[in-house]
């Protein structure tokens, strides 16, 4: 069978400020094929697809549809070229019915009649083997039904090129199987399907070809039949790069924090943490690796007393008194009043960590304003602390009274980490502390963490760069869809092993469980 080109990308580059999201990416998509785009988080998969669907506009490069060069400036343009995208976060209006959502924005010059819409939806669902009730309101639907509505929305506009951004992340195995059935029907109908994913077994199961992206660059496109899980992982994570981060042997290591069987669900009732158990020891850096959104944020927030747990215990061993306390379902204030010295550097620095419109001194006070009995605040000590942090961490700022939002990302992070370390924690949790930072700032942060480790603090480090995790951490916990898939020794484990643990499925296990 001769394959016709449906979509070509040539030398696409896109940058956001200093961050290069895509660099010189070229891709082909044929008619009647399923192309999987594989890569770690932050490798530019979604950005690339957003450029095809008109959300972003490429800085450089060209896009061809059916062999003709096109300019896609908006989602409307994309629809005109019969390109439709199903986003990872559904874009649906909750209080509208499925039918209303499907017809939304449709530019057909016909008399508006919801019955006609519903009939056409029924036609599409029958053709590809979906089930959906067009009269049902979105807020009454399950995640999988919502996804179905999204896909029909695209098909309703006669899209020939469908882009699905991590469609299976929210589905059960049964629902995934149904979705794949639908995708195969669409392929048979001559449509081109691009599926973004980082689940290797799904890539192997559904796709015809796989394009691998790494750090914004296109590594290779291979035929799925020639690929294996390990060959794909290797392309995805790449060669190990030496970073020369110093790592000392842990001294006098004792268990400081013991997490047992943590389980939690999100707003939609999906499991975000599933039976998580590990120990964090004093004087070591415990890394947490995983694809973004595998439960890292929920895990740290649960320990910090910010995320409600369904099950499990968080046992803290107090080094001073030798007592153990359970931190489960306690508020951050209760945790602090128990004498637990827990510091948390959240991933969202200016959202959860610092207040952007307040100056450095005031941000210091966020952690200490309860001290003292006077009704007036004591500004002298926070101010001294702010000056100290500015000096010792070389924060580049005009002074202590500069608003935090005016500082660069690296300096914001130094202020935040500095404040948390100044609280003399026994457990220090940091989430993506070097995200968006330049090399020098990153090393400053690594050194700070190492110093904390040497002084006997138990450091929990959530990272995304495997090279950093492998060089910085003593042990690495790998989580995947809210479950621990492995706890490795940071000194001996290889990048590929961690990569596989991050992406491998535990679907078989899950199914056995559901059959019981």
């Amino acid at each position: 069978m001769k394959k016709e080109l449906a979509l070509e990308l040539k030398h696409i580059t896109k940058t956001f400020g200093n961050v290069v999201a895509n660099h010189d990416v070229s891709l082909d998509v044929y008619k009647g094929e399923i192309l999987a785009i594989l890569g770690e988080n932050g490798c530019g998969k979604t950005t690339l697809m957003n450029m095809i669907s008109g959300i972003y506009f490429p800085d450089e490069g060209e896009i061809f549809v059916d062999g003709k060069p096109v300019i896609i400036r908006s989602p409307k343009d994309a629809f005109r070229y019969k390109i439709g995208m199903v986003h990872q976060h559904f874009k649906l209006v909750d209080i509208f019915t499925a039918g209303e959502n499907i017809v939304l924005g449709d530019s057909e010059k016909k008399r508006f009649n919801l019955n006609d819409v519903n009939n056409r939806v029924a036609e599409i669902t029958e053709r590809y083997g979906f089930t959906v009730d067009p009269q049902k309101k979105i807020y009454e639907m399950s995640v999988s039904e919502k996804q179905t509505v999204e896909i029909i929305k695209v098909l309703y506009r006669n899209a020939d090129i469908l882009i699905l951004d991590e469609p299976t992340a929210v589905l059960t195995p049964q629902e995934t199987r149904n979705l794949f059935e639908v995708l195969r029907n669409m392929r048979a109908d001559g449509k081109s399907i691009i599926i973004i994913t980082h689940k290797l077994h799904e890539v192997l199961e559904i796709s015809d070809r796989v394009a691998v992206l790494r750090k914004g660059e296109h590594i290779a496109t291979v035929d799925t039949k020639d690929a294996t899980e390990s060959s794909l992982t290797e392309m995805m994570v790449g060669q190990k790069i030496s970073l020369n981060i110093e790592r000392t042997e842990p001294k006098n290591s004792v268990v400081r924090l013991k997490v047992e069987g943590l389980s939690a669900t999100d707003d939609e009732g999906l499991k975000v943490l599933d039976n998580i158990s590990f120990e964090a020891r004093s004087g070591e850096i415990l890394g947490i690796a995983g694809i973004a959104g595998s439960g890292q944020r929920e895990l740290l927030e649960a320990i910090a007393g910010l995320y409600p747990l369904n099950e499990g215990d968080i046992i803290y061993n107090n080094p001073k008194t030798g007592d153990t306390v359970d931190l489960r379902n306690k508020t951050p204030l209760q945790i602090r009043n128990l004498g637990v010295r827990l510091s948390f550097v959240p991933e969202d620095r200016l959202g959860m960590g610092l207040v952007g419109n307040m100056n450095i001194t005031d941000n210091m006070m966020l952690r200490s304003y309860r001290r003292g009995k006077s009704m007036f605040v004591d500004r002298a000590r926070p101010k001294a602390l702010a000056s100290e942090i500015i000096e010792s961490l070389q924060v580049n700022t005009p002074g202590v009274s500069t608003e935090v939002r005016k500082l660069s990302g690296g300096n914001v992070q130094k202020v935040l980490v500095g404040r948390e370390i100044a609280a003399a924690p026994t457990v220090l949790m940091v989430a993506y502390p070097v995200r968006g930072l330049d090399i020098n700032s990153s090393y400053t942060i690594y050194n700070l963490l190492n110093k904390q480790k040497e002084s006997g603090v138990s450091v929990i480090f959530v990272g995304e760069d495997l090279d950093v995790l492998l060089e910085l951490c003593d042990r690495i916990v790998v989580i995947n869809s809210g479950r621990i898939t492995g706890i490795c020794d940071g000194r001996t484990v290889t990048k590929e092993e961690v990569g596989l643990l991050m992406t491998k499925s535990h679907e078989e296990e899950r199914e056995v469980k559901s059959n019981e």
Binding site: M85, D94, I95, G105
Partner: protein, 318 residues
């Protein structure tokens, strides 16, 4: 007779709230909370009165005078909408602050213009009262307040309701207020919808101000009371759960409550002390709060404010 008069007066003062609220609903349905409505209504009234003053003595036919005044009113109020949408849609400024600033500005400039008008001539713009109050202008009871604009207001409310809930453009418009990102992703031009909705909404609200001066009140000091009525229009939007057809009934209820004290003695035979007046005028707000509490308890999704109300939308956000 006083009961009939009470009902008619309530109905006609309700028209002010109805126009204000209908305009505000269109704006809120695209996710913009325009707290400038009192100012918009004031400026609309001023624009209409200036046009009337200019037409004074030219012996134009009555319907043309009304039509031109309405257009002038709509355009001047719409200009306030242009300011509001430029600041909040294009410059992403805070909607509440912008709205409140617009109220202060609108009320202030109206006071200036209207006081000038009074000084130039002897508020001649009131000559047009009979045209606005047509066809009941010569009656002595409260039916005389039910002039042409009453019908315009009722028809507008019904049309807007039909537009919002029965047309595709209305569906697109409501989608923006619920989730601008969703609307954007399906190719709806969010910015132009927001501009148009805000400007047309402001224009409709502005008519409420003109109605009050040229129909209900018919006096030269009337412009001083528009601001208070404007705030009630904003409250009526909440009271009617963001639905213009409910607004029609809601505006009547607000009217009944707002002027209750004036008719209390003649209908119920109770003599209320003057000091009670402001308290009774509070009743619409009390009712609005009760409605808010009830809908919050019931939590029916369809009765909640647009999900994106007050949220500024940026496209290239990462």
């Amino acid at each position: 007779m006083s009961i009939v008069n009470y009902l008619l007066s309530s109905f006609s003062i309700g028209i002010i709230f109805l126009l204000g609220a209908t305009g505000e609903i269109i704006t809120e349905k695209v996710g913009h909370l325009n707290l400038g409505i009192p100012g918009v209504m004031s400026v609309g009234a001023a624009g209409g009165c200036v046009a009337l003053q200019l037409m004074y003595g030219h012996n134009l036919p009555g319907f043309l005078i009304v039509l031109i005044a309405l257009i002038a009113c709509f355009v001047s109020a719409g200009l306030m909408g242009v300011i509001y949408s430029f600041l909040t849609v294009s410059l992403h400024s805070n909607q509440n602050v912008t709205g409140l600033a617009l109220t202060t500005f609108g009320v202030g400039i109206t006071k200036f213009i209207m006081s000038r008008l009074t000084r130039i001539g002897a508020h001649e713009y009131l000559y047009a009262l009979e045209y606005f109050r047509a066809p009941f202008a010569n009656l002595t009871n409260s039916l005389k307040y039910c002039g042409v604009m009453t019908f315009i207001a009722l028809i507008t409310a019904i049309l807007v309701s039909y537009f919002l809930y029965r047309t595709k453009t209305g569906l697109n418009l409501r989608a923006i207020g619920e989730s601008a990102a969703t609307a954007d992703a399906v190719g709806i031009n969010v910015t132009s919808y927001k501009y148009l909705a805000t400007i047309i909404g402001s224009g409709i609200a502005g008519l409420g101000g003109l109605y009050y001066i040229m129909d209900y009140a018919g006096s030269q000091e009337a412009y001083l009371s528009i601001e208070a009525l404007g705030w009630l229009s904003v409250a009526l939007v909440i009271f009617s759960l963001w639905k213009p057809h409910i607004c029609i009934a809601g505006s009547f209820v607000f009217g009944l409550l707002y002027i209750a004290n004036a008719y209390a003695s003649s209908i119920l035979g109770i003599q209320l002390p003057m000091a009670m007046t402001p308290l009774i005028k509070l009743l619409p707000y009390v009712f609005t709060i009760v409605v808010l509490i009830l809908t919050s308890i019931r939590k029916k999704r369809e009765n909640q404010p647009p999900a994106g109300l007050g949220i500024t939308y940026f496209r290239e956000e990462r």
